[in-house]
Symmetry: C2
Subunit: 161 residues, 2 copies
DNA sequence: TCTTGTCCTGTTACAAGGTAACAGTTAAGC
DNA sequence: GCTTAACTGTTACCTTGTAACAGGACAAGA
């Protein structure tokens, strides 16, 4: 598992993206999922950016590939990727980020830089403390938990707000 | 402090809403904030609903009061309420909910029923375990954390999905 | 009292995010 | 090969959110 703060540090990103893409291919083969060209291309775009991209930013990049492309193209690919744990939606940004360690659908926690939109994914301790207890008390059945910390990454601190 | 799961249980809601509104007035007086009629009305609408409302749902209710009302009216009031800890934005729903225990701006954790949109607010243990540590390791400065658990409230369990 | 700046409101017009629905195409399974 | 299910292309639309500007309320000071 890659270090969670990788996104915020210099690294051989070409290799990082290639290996995540390869992991995705392997996972799809194993689980009999069809990582079609459209889906693979969107994942690739997310991996190259290594930060949160809005659906319409992804659309732009798809269009740069040549063909036109309408919003459903991007959303369908993103739904597939998110449903299968290859990408995550960042609620706070209405944006999407590639998963660095693809697995079956999984929740995660995120550190989101509000200046540069880079996102670090951190494995999430299930039923994090307090909240799990509060839910149990209330008889509430948790299905999915969103944990997103907003702030400034190391590179973006020490400048203007 | 009201019990966190209050939203999911039967309670004297007229009293619950009135007391929250009163608390808001007190807090605004103490902090020299202007809880103008427009703002108070939006807070009242949120308190009456006791669930998450979209900005455009709030707009509808404002219009039922007589005057027309354009989106910025709702958003301005909601921004004021959120900035001052009188309401919270639920990212996952693009919706807003009144705070049951208004204080200075504060983060909270939420239990959100995906069937009925009722929302329970739970006090959040600051720098929740793991994530705080991961942030410190990465040199990431957390400013605000979103914690939203999605699931089914007691009333909505045991039926269709 | 008048003046001035600040904050709040009303309104227009639009940007950004997201989806329903349908027709056509590809690929899997028999 | 034929059938069926899954994927793609496209149109048209809905929902959410904001920039920008003009006007009004109000307090503080001259
Ligand atoms: Zn990388
Ligand atoms: Zn940054
Ligand atoms: Zn109540
Ligand atoms: Zn419910």
């Amino acid at each position: 598992m890659p270090s969670p703060d990788l996104a915020f540090r210099a690294h051989d990103h070409a290799r990082c993206a290639a290996s995540a893409l390869h992991a995705a291919q392997t996972l799809c083969a194993a689980r009999n999922l069809r990582l079609t060209p459209a889906r693979a291309r969107v994942l690739e775009i997310l991996l190259e950016a290594h930060r949160a991209l809005g659906a319409y930013e992804i659309l732009e990049r798809l269009r740069e590939d040549g063909q036109p492309a309408q919003p459903p193209v991007a959303y369908r690919a993103l739904n597939f990727l998110c449903e299968n744990g290859l990408a995550h939606r960042i609620e706070r940004l209405n944006a999407f980020v590639a998963c660095v360690d693809p697995q079956a659908e999984h929740d995660a926690a995120f550190l989101i830089c509000r200046r540069c939109d880079r996102v670090a994914e951190s494995p999430r301790d299930q039923d994090a403390g307090h909240l799990g207890a509060a839910a149990a008390d209330a008889g509430f059945a948790i299905e999915r938990t969103v944990v997103e910390a907003l702030g400034l990454c190391p590179d973006c601190q020490g400048g203007q707000p």
